[in-house]
């Protein structure tokens, strides 16, 4: 992966596949600490599965025996001077929390969050994005968008294009000229 936004896309796809109704993605920048937390209300994992989920030879797929998403994110966090944590409970959901040192030379850039968010627009799964840099905060909730849409699919190309430009504007304004 070239940017953390791609890891977010990959991990959030797991939440969608776990039949989550709501996925919350928090991107929090506080001084030198970047925290990325992805929480879902999907089907969760058993304790036994959780103990081996960071092993690349663990997967829920039946066609192949490798699953690289979680191990790659863990590696990215640890390489970037940060931490990786995953908590899960069957029937409740899963929370993946990673931290990074902003000034660590090996930390991956955050990348294009707007494009990741608009690649994750599903008619039957909602996303809440909380993007916070210092005390400036931007919240994007697909449930609010769907209310405005009155039945038009949120993954229609016209809607995706509009939301992407809206998110780009808001994220740039929160960033205040810095590249994270």
């Amino acid at each position: 992966m070239r940017e953390l936004a791609l890891h977010i896309l990959d991990i959030a796809e797991n939440s969608v596949k776990a039949n989550a109704k709501l996925v919350t993605v928090e991107i929090l920048v506080d001084d030198n600490l970047l925290t990325i937390r992805i929480s879902d209300d999907g089907k969760g994992m058993s304790e036994e599965f959780l103990t081996r989920v960071t092993d690349p030879f663990t997967t829920t797929r039946t066609t192949r025996k490798v699953g690289m998403g979680i191990p790659l994110l863990k590696q990215a966090a640890e390489t970037g001077g940060g931490t990786f944590d995953i908590k899960s409970q069957v029937g409740v959901g899963t929370v993946v929390t990673t931290t990074f040192q902003l000034d660590d030379i090996d930390r991956m850039p955050l990348g294009d969050i707007a494009e990741t968010a608009t690649t994750l627009l599903y008619p039957n799964c909602d996303f809440k994005w909380i993007y916070k840099v210092g005390d400036r905060e931007f919240v994007f909730d697909t449930r609010e968008v769907k209310e405005e849409l009155e039945g038009i699919p949120i993954d229609s190309p016209e809607i995706i294009a509009f939301l992407k430009s809206m998110l780009k504007e808001n994220i740039e304004s929160i960033n205040g000229g810095i590249i994270i």
Binding site: R64, E148, L149, I152, I160, F162
Partner: protein, 124 residues
């Protein structure tokens, strides 16, 4: 700054278009499917997916649906794009990037001519 309230105008425009669409359009829909598992994403599937979506949105193309799929087991050939034209065999493109995506859309999806240079070659 744009906000969710701006969706109203887009919605009203789209609602008018939906009413004027006939039922035949669904049967003639061409599907463009982008592989978006870990392997696809790492190889650059997100810009490919977004290029298709942007082109379809900006050019007002109505009979093309852009969707995604998981890993189909040829990770080293990602990003992979499958094109389903009704009544024809599926076409699989490999090592696609945003530029190739635009060409696939113009030449194959809209023009009906398969981009043979992006198909699975000897390397598979």
């Amino acid at each position: 700054m744009k906000s969710i309230a701006d969706i109203k105008a887009i919605r009203e425009k789209m609602q008018a278009q939906i009413i004027s669409r006939d039922n035949e359009s669904e049967a003639n829909e061409i599907r463009v499917v982008v592989g978006m598992a870990t392997c696809g994403i790492a190889a650059g599937a997100r810009p490919v997916f977004n290029e298709f979506v942007d082109q379809v949105a900006n050019r007002g193309i109505k009979h093309v649906k852009v969707t995604r799929t998981g890993c189909i087991g040829m990770c080293k050939l990602e990003p992979i794009v499958e094109v389903f034209v009704p009544g024809q065999e599926k076409v699989t493109y490999v090592h696609v990037d945003a530029e190739k995506a635009k060409k696939i859309l113009d030449q194959h999806v809209l023009g009906g001519k398969i981009c043979t240079e992006y198909l699975v070659g000897d390397e598979a």
